[in-house]
């Protein structure tokens, strides 16, 4: 049984313009020690799906799922109180903006010890010792002094390390990292990613890495889930995905990678992710898809089989390779 098993997860927001489906029938599985990357352009529902799992969405969001099973517990059927025993302990998350994700009124030490005391019932001394150990682990120099610092006294990279230390403080089984490096300098980005992968190796936790960056995916992930306009449109292990993407959207994302670009200009996918009011009737990618025909525009495609990367497409690409093998 996998560590995380999501089936048919949907999230609808009540907005002034009516209901908006930000996540649409998403299935996901993550195993122990797995690194799953979730990729997709802005607005594709990557964050919302994971926030739904964590129970962190505002009250305007309606979350439905056939199964939302983490470590044997169905989170969707639990009381808020029971869920808090798991969230923050076995299931942890870090965010894009390390500077604003820490409370400016408390020292980082306080914020780390707090989690330890609440979940593990440690006393002050034990929590302090564990906090020192964690700072060491995530590579924060001079931990004793740093624990007394306030978030605004440290750099973004250091704050993200603090966030990671806090997230792994109770030895989580699954860590969700939502674009953990987007707000950081390029050199720091690589360090933070290395740190996350190293922690995965050392602790055996599962890791979900949300990112826009295909380069990051290639370096860190084992499996990739490609999302578009709230739907999962393809999922494959990392190598086959890069070699033979089945969904036209995945293929376009890969073509947008600088290394693959044949032109000097960085190619981007023309158009934008459809928002609340311009969702097309058939395939959500049809307005931007070079292969779209009338059938695509009318009939929404269902996911194909695992041999086609579960691609939500009427005319998957690279099917010949399957025939050849």
């Amino acid at each position: 049984m996998s560590l995380l098993r999501l089936r048919n997860l949907s999230v609808e927001f009540a907005t002034t313009g009516g209901r908006f489906r930000a996540v649409d029938q998403v299935d996901l599985d993550v195993d122990k020690g797995d690194v799953l990357a979730i990729v997709g352009e802005s607005g594709s529902g990557k964050s919302v799906s994971m926030l739904a799992l964590m129970g962190l969405l505002p009250w305007t969001a309606k979350v439905t799922a056939d199964e939302m099973i983490f470590d044997g517990h169905d989170l969707s059927k639990m009381s808020a109180r029971a869920r808090r025993k798991i969230v923050g302990k076995d299931l942890a998350m870090i965010f894009q903006e390390p500077m604003s994700s820490l409370n400016p009124c408390f020292t980082v030490g306080f914020q780390i010890r707090e989690a330890l005391r609440i979940h593990l019932g440690m006393d002050r001394k034990a929590a302090q010792a564990r906090a020192l150990e964690l700072f060491d682990l995530v590579g924060i120099p001079d931990p004793e002094q740093r624990l007394k610092a306030f978030p605004h006294q440290m750099s973004g990279g250091m704050n993200q390390r603090v966030m990671i230390a806090m997230a792994i403080s109770c030895n989580p089984k699954l860590l969700i990292a939502d674009e953990p490096t987007t707000a950081l300098d390029v050199t720091i980005q690589a360090q933070i990613l290395d740190l996350l992968v190293r922690l995965r190796d050392e602790t055996g936790m599962g890791l979900v890495l949300i990112t826009h960056d295909m380069g990051v995916v290639a370096e860190t992930a084992q499996r990739v889930s490609v999302h578009y306009a709230g739907q999962k449109v393809e999922e494959q292990p990392v190598r086959p995905l890069f070699r033979s993407p089945h969904h036209p959207y995945t293929s376009a994302l890969l073509a947008a990678l600088p290394e693959r670009a044949t032109d000097k200009r960085l190619p981007t996918i023309p158009g934008v992710v459809p928002g609340q009011f311009d969702r097309p009737q058939g395939c959500l990618f049809s307005p931007r898809c070079p292969y779209a025909d009338d059938h695509c525009r009318k009939v929404p495609p269902a996911p194909r089989g695992p041999d086609l990367g579960l691609a939500r497409c009427h005319y998957p690409l690279n099917t010949d390779e399957r025939l050849a093998s």
Binding site: R84, S100, S101, N103, A115, I118, M166
Partner: protein, 335 residues
Amino acid sequence: MLRYVLSRFATFLPTFIGVTLISFAFIRVLPGDPIIVMAGERGMTQERYDELVVQFGFDRPILAQYWDYLTGVLQGDLGNSYVTKRPVWDEFFALFPATLELSICAMIFAVALGLPAGVIAAMNRGKFFDRTLMSTALVGYSMPIFWWALLLIIVFSGNLGWTPVSGRIDLLYYFDDVTGFMLIDSLISGQDGAFTSAVRHLILPTIVLGTIPLAVIARQTRSAMLEVLGEDYIRTARAKGLPPGRINGLHALRNALIPVITVIGLSVGTLLAGAILTETIFSWPGIGKWMVDSIFRRDYPVVQGGLLLIAVMVMVVNLTVDLLYGLINPKIRKR
């Protein structure tokens, strides 16, 4: 932190001089001659009048009068009351505890009810409790003080007879001032029922004076909380699995307090203005009533001195608030 404190103090002096100027000008702009008012219905001879004009220095140029006043003030001399001939300073400090006692009670009342009300409203945003509370606060805020006072007096003193209408304590009780605070002095005196009587006298003025700050604090707390609850660090706190009480009461409130404390500081000014009306209505022997009486008597030194001392108090409170900020929000402290 030291530089922060010094920079706050640096703004103090110009404001102080400005206030002396305004208080000096204010009373002189009002029509009416203090000497005539003093003479009352008996009137006085022209010689006596001229003599007093010289004695009070009204014959000298207005700037010279201001200069005398300012140099006096800077040496700690606020002059003597024209009416009682006693130093303004002494009169002020004899009456000030009464005002302070009332203001402190009103503030405690406003903060003790306003903070939790604002927090609970924010947690129940848009629900029944929130709506009821916020419309009540709006009513409380816009209600004229004298009308609200009369309403309470009619119901609680008139119809129900629960509370007395005026003064600080029943005339039955007599004891010396020790602290000037009736609640404390009545306890010290050890007389049976004195303390209860003092409390009963305080209730209505406290409610009347505290109503506007209460409304302001509740609304500000609610909006500050709502803003803070949308912050990333609150999401982090929830992602840590902290219980809602801890998230709202510690992580959110600590940040929301920063704007709320400003409002509490600013309400002190409003409170002293409100004290003038409240004291007049409830015959509360404090500086509010003293100032009103002195304005009618055109008692220049008292009005000038009283205004100045009130202004200084407001300034000191605002300074304290600025320093409190530093304690609550570490970002300011370290700057």
